[in-house]
Structure formats: C-alpha cells, structure tokens
C-alpha cells in the first residue's frame, strides 16, 4: 500500500544527514511510546510470574520508545527517503467529513448528514464541481437510505429533526 517506486522521490544519501522519513518516523514513535508509558505509569506492574495490568502496556511502550529512537538515529546516519509534506487539505476535508457526519447523524438524521458530509469532503480536491457534487450527494443519500434503512433494516436515524 505504500508503493512509491514510480514517484521518483528524492533519496538522501549517507553522509548528508537530512530530514528523512525514518528520522521523523522514529521521533514520532518515540513520543508515542513515551505518552503510552506515561498513561501506564499508575498501573501495577506485578512480577514476570504474576503479571499485573501494567506489565504488558509498560513493556510495549518502552520498546516502542526505544525502537523509535534507534530508527531515528540510524536514519540520521544512514539517510533514506526524504519526508514529503502531508496532504493537509485532504486530511482536513476527509476528517471534517467524518466528524460532520457524527455531529449531525443523531440530531438531524441521514437526510442531512449524508449530503453535508459528502459535499464537505468533496472539497478535498480541486476537481470538485459544486453542482455535480450536490446532485451526486443527494442521489447517493437517497440510495443509502433505501439500501441501509429499507433493504438492510439498520436502526439508523433518517429524519431525526421532525
């Protein structure tokens, strides 16, 4: 799923330390490990023979933190693939679409949640055409209502505000 052989990305070489995927990736994991360890701090560890609730979370968190640090260090020394900018626009509109759906589904129902989340998410790309997207969103919503509510019988709110 992460094939990028064709994209011809820049590759940093050894000796020219640069901000590579592994450096950032290692740091991110180290921080995540530290966060998990902090969360698991209060849990009793027990002993290896009689493990407490905290034994596995704490050991895994520490391993993640150490592993991340190792990765970042080797990345710094050995180089590797250069980090590319994340697609913030895509993230914002996709995540926003999910959250909008969550905010509206129980209070307003699928009639509103469907088109609103779809139209919002569509803005993630320049290719979006307002009229086409709106018509399409309404059609898909009608289809979803027929499929999920009537064909599959899920207890999903359709028109909650009335």
């Amino acid at each position: 799923m992460t094939d990028d052989s064709s994209s011809g990305r820049e590759v940093s070489t050894a000796g020219r330390a640069r901000i590579t995927q592994d450096v950032i990736g290692g740091l991110v994991l180290s921080m995540a490990g530290a966060f998990f360890a902090w969360q698991a701090w209060d849990l009793p560890l027990g002993s290896p023979g009689a493990m407490g609730p905290g034994m596995l979370p704490m050991s895994v968190a520490v391993l993640i933190a150490i592993g991340g640090a190792v990765l970042a260090t080797t990345g710094l020394v050995a180089g590797g693939e250069v980090m590319t900018m994340p697609h913030l626009r895509g993230m914002f509109f996709i995540i926003g679409g999910i959250v909008l759906f969550g905010l509206t589904i129980r209070s307003l129902g699928l009639v509103v949640a469907g088109p609103v989340s779809m139209i919002f998410a569509s803005a993630a790309t320049d290719e979006m055409r307002p009229l086409e997207t709106s018509v399409f969103a309404v059609c898909i919503t009608v289809f979803c209502i027929l499929l999920f509510k009537y064909a599959l019988g899920l207890p999903i709110p359709v028109v909650a505000f009335m």
Binding site: S47, P53, G80, S117, A124, T133
Partner: protein
C-alpha cells in the same frame, strides 16, 4: 466418507437460494469495488463489512468470502488493464499482465488469470475440506501456552514477511499490541490507558481502527497522488486464451497452486509470498527467462494461481485455530466476533453448517467469479472511468453509515477519524499499516493467553518450553527470525521483490 458427507452438508447450506444470492452479491460487489484503482481487498472488506451485519452468521461469512474473492479478481483486472496493483500480491501480476495488455493480449491475460485462479480455488477447497479435520484434532491439544507460542510465531512471520523494513514492521506490530492493551484489564477489571473515555473501557473496536487506518488513510493518500488512470481505450481482444496459451500456462498454474496453497496455511500471512515465490520459480524454470517482464503468460498464470490458492488456504488457520494469518483474515475475525462466533477449533464442531457451508461457497464463489468476470470485462473498464472526485465522498458516507451502525455509536465515528489521521501519518512516515493490524488483532489474544499460561503454571515460564507443541512453535519462530535477519537471505528477498 467423512469428507464427502461434510462437503454434502456444506453444499446443502451453500445451495440455498439465499446463500447463493449472497455469494453472488458478495462476488459482484467485491469485484465492483476491487476493480477500483487503489482499493485493494483489505480496504474493500473493511468498507463492505457493515453490509453483512444484518445477515445471519453463515450468510454473512459466505458473503464476505464472496467479497474477498471478488476483490482479488477485481484487483487483478485493474493490475492487468491499468497497471495499478490493488494489493501487495497483485504487484507481480502487473509485471507481465500489463505488458500483455499493451500487446493487445489483455483478453488472454484476464482469461488465464481467471481460469488459473479457478483451478487453484478448486484444489484449495478440496484441500481445506480434507485437511480441516486433522488440523482441528491438533487444535484440541492447544492450551493457553500453545496459543501464546502460536501468536508469537504469527507475529514473527508477519514482520518477516512484510514488504519493507523488518525493523519498521516490528515497530508497527508493537504499536498494534499497544492499541490492543487499551481497555479493562482481564484479571483485575482495572481500566487501562482509556484516557477516562468510558467508550474505551471495552477496548478499541476493530472496525474504527481498521476502517480508519486502511480505508480513510488510503483515500487521503490517493487524493495526494492522483493516479494517472491510463485506461486502455483499445479493444481488449479475444477473451478466451488460445490452446497454446493454456498449454503453456498449465504447469505454471499447477506449481503456483502448490506453492500458494502451502504458504497460505502458515499462520503469519504466508499467502503474500506465494505470487512472488511462484513468479521467481517460473522465471528460473523458463527456457528463456528474458521473456519475463515482456508479457510472458506463465508470469500471469503462476502468480495468479498462487495468489488465489493462498487466499483460500489462509482460511485454514482462521477456521481451525482462530488465528488470522493476514489483514483480510483479521477482518474476518472481526466479522465472526460481531456475529457472536468465536473463531477457533470449536467453529467446526459448534457450527458445522457455517464451517462447511463456507467451504462449499468458496468453490461456488470461484465458479461465479469466472462467470461474472469473463463476459463482463468491458464493463469493469468503464467503471474505471468513474471520476475519483465523486467516488471518494461516496465511499466516505458509506463507511460512516457502516461504522455508526455497528454499535449505534457516534463516538466510533470520532475514533475512526482519529485512526484515519494515525493511518495517514504512518503512511507518510513509510510504515506499513498491515503489521499494525495484525499486532492489534493478535495482541489481545496474546496477552490473554500469556497471562492464563503463567497463572496456570504458577508463574513459571518453563511451561512454554516443557510443552512440546509450544516449544516446537517457539523454535520455528526463532528460526524464522534468525533466517530473516541473515543478511544474505535478506538480500535475496529484496531481489525477489524488485525483480
């Protein structure tokens, strides 16, 4: 004979009008979704999983299995026609399949892929039916210690067989384990790592994690780099391969089926190696290896057969041991658990209709796929032209409805959004999400079995070595790890992947 009476039960179940229809529907929508560029079987199943929630367990699993085969076929079609692999295993198919398509032999490539897969599917179905029983007897010997060792072996396999860096795959397994520890402690009932969120006291649900990390993260990634959908506008040519093609492919299909089927049984995603191994073998055995990469039909037939055989025998560890060998099977575990079926040795005895019905439907599903795919190739090509700007919002709303419906919970949607961010960040940082999912799924079971074993042995770790099966499994895991870490083998592995 047991085998035939069992298969009779299975076909009795699968041949009901409802289940045939579910199998057909599954294959159909699986193919439809799987044929979309960038959407592989894992994402397809993650997205379509909620479709099955309203069904009975047997029907749901039959439909899911149909979706799985459908998605595999769909992925191969895309790989051949437009050179976009839907998953790791169809990377191999692009090599010679797409070359064949460029030479106007797309029909032959699609045809041999379908026929080879059908043959592999038939053999694998018989194999599962024959070997399922002995494997279940073996599973009765499995206590907590053996299961723990098996989990360890599965985790080692999953990192070893990962495509990229083994070290990074290992880190992802650990992260999966970490997510698995969230929730109420098994032994004391104490809440762990829940951040005070009540919804997390039962742990992180499988669907929000899988759909966030696979489905939505993949959508964001596709938005980032819009694939050039160079759909071939030329006609596809004759649909059926010629006799020459079949004669040339037959040995490759046989070997591919054998390799893929055997690797598929390994409880650590052996199936993913099948097509690579098959391709490497065909190239080695060929009189003129230089034809490979330029449209050699064996290079499509062998790996496609291996892929399908492995996809099917991967059900053995799931159904008889309760071990999901890969991300797709991990999704199957989620599906079974949602339906109140605990995957494991008891499935066969407790739900024989489900077990044998599913096996029978594997064969039916394969047959249906040939029927669906052979004549309808032209339509798949047209579907490839659905603009992504319309496709992804539709996928989003389908996923949201699905996730909400699992537990009628809005919080699950927010968890999904969170895991979409996590998944996308991981992709950007060059981590593979599949080992994470395996770590997550195996992690819960692993901790449970570890602690049960240690309580039963009153704290002695010797229990894992004293028990012969457990010791054997640990030894295999250790050997695999050593072999994988040997640099020479490592290099070979990389060569096989880049070839």
């Amino acid at each position: 004979m047991d085998l035939f009476s069992n298969l009779a039960i299975g076909f009795g179940v699968a041949f009901t009008a409802q289940n045939l229809l579910l199998c057909f529907t599954g294959c159909m929508i699986g193919t439809l979704v799987g044929v979309l560029p960038g959407v592989g079987p894992v994402a397809t199943i993650a997205m379509l999983l909620p479709l099955t929630f309203g069904l009975d367990p047997t029907g749901a699993l039959i439909m899911l299995a149909g979706i799985y085969y459908g998605a595999q076929y769909g992925g191969s079609t895309t790989a051949i026609l437009v050179n976009i692999p839907g998953e790791a295993t169809s990377v191999v198919t692009t090599l010679d399949g797409h070359q064949m398509a460029r030479q106007g032999r797309a029909g032959a490539a699609l045809g041999i892929a379908a026929l080879g897969s059908f043959f592999a599917g038939c053999v694998a179905t018989l194999f599962i039916a024959a070997m399922g029983q002995p494997l279940t007897r073996l599973a009765q010997l499995f206590g907590p210690a053996e299961y723990f060792s098996l989990m360890i072996m599965g985790l080692v396999f999953s990192t070893v067989l990962a495509r990229g860096s083994i070290f990074k795959a290992g880190l992802m397994v650990l992260l999966g384990l970490m997510f698995a520890t969230v929730g109420t402690d098994l032994e004391t009932g104490q809440e762990r790592m829940t951040l005070g969120i009540p919804r997390l006291s039962d742990g992180i649900d499988f669907a929000p994690l899988a759909m966030g990390i696979f489905g939505f993260a993949e959508i964001i990634r596709n938005l980032e780099s819009p694939e050039a959908r160079d759909v071939l506008h030329d006609r596809i040519g004759r649909l059926l391969p010629s006799w020459d093609d079949i004669r040339q492919s037959a040995p490759a299909v046989l070997r591919g089926t054998l390799i893929g089927g055997l690797l598929g049984i390994l409880p650590g995603n052996g199936a993913v190696l099948g097509p690579f191994a098959s391709y490497a073998m065909e190239k080695k055995l060929a009189k003129d290896p230089s034809r490979f990469g330029r449209g050699a039909i064996e290079g499509v037939a062998g790996p496609e057969s291996a892929n399908n055989a492995g996809a099917q025998t991967a059900f053995i560890p799931l159904l008889t041991l309760g071990i999901p060998p890969n991300a797709v099977m991990a999704l199957m575990v989620g599906a079974m658990t949602i339906h109140g079926v605990i995957p494991g040795p008891q499935v066969m005895t407790k739900n024989p209709e489900l077990f044998w019905g599913m096996i029978a439907s594997m064969w039916i599903g394969n047959a249906m796929l040939v029927i669906i795919n052979m004549p309808l190739v032209g339509i798949w090509v047209k579907l490839l032209k659905v603009p992504y700007r319309l496709l992804f919002p539709a996928i989003l709303v389908f996923c949201c409805i699905g996730i909400y419906s699992i537990n009628n919970s809005v919080e699950d949607l927010y968890f999904t959004a969170f895991f979409a961010v996590v998944g996308y960040v991981l992709i950007k940082l060059g981590y593979e999400p599949a080992p994470l999912l395996l770590g997550f799924v195996l992690g819960k079971l692993m901790e449970e079995k570890l602690r049960q074993s240690l309580i039963l042995s009153r704290g002695s770790f010797a229990t894992f070595i004293d028990r012969p099966i457990s010791a054997g499994l640990l030894a295999v895991a250790a050997i695999m790890l050593i072999v994988a870490l040997l640099p020479s083998i490592n290099r070979k592995r990389e060569v096989a992947f880049q070839d």
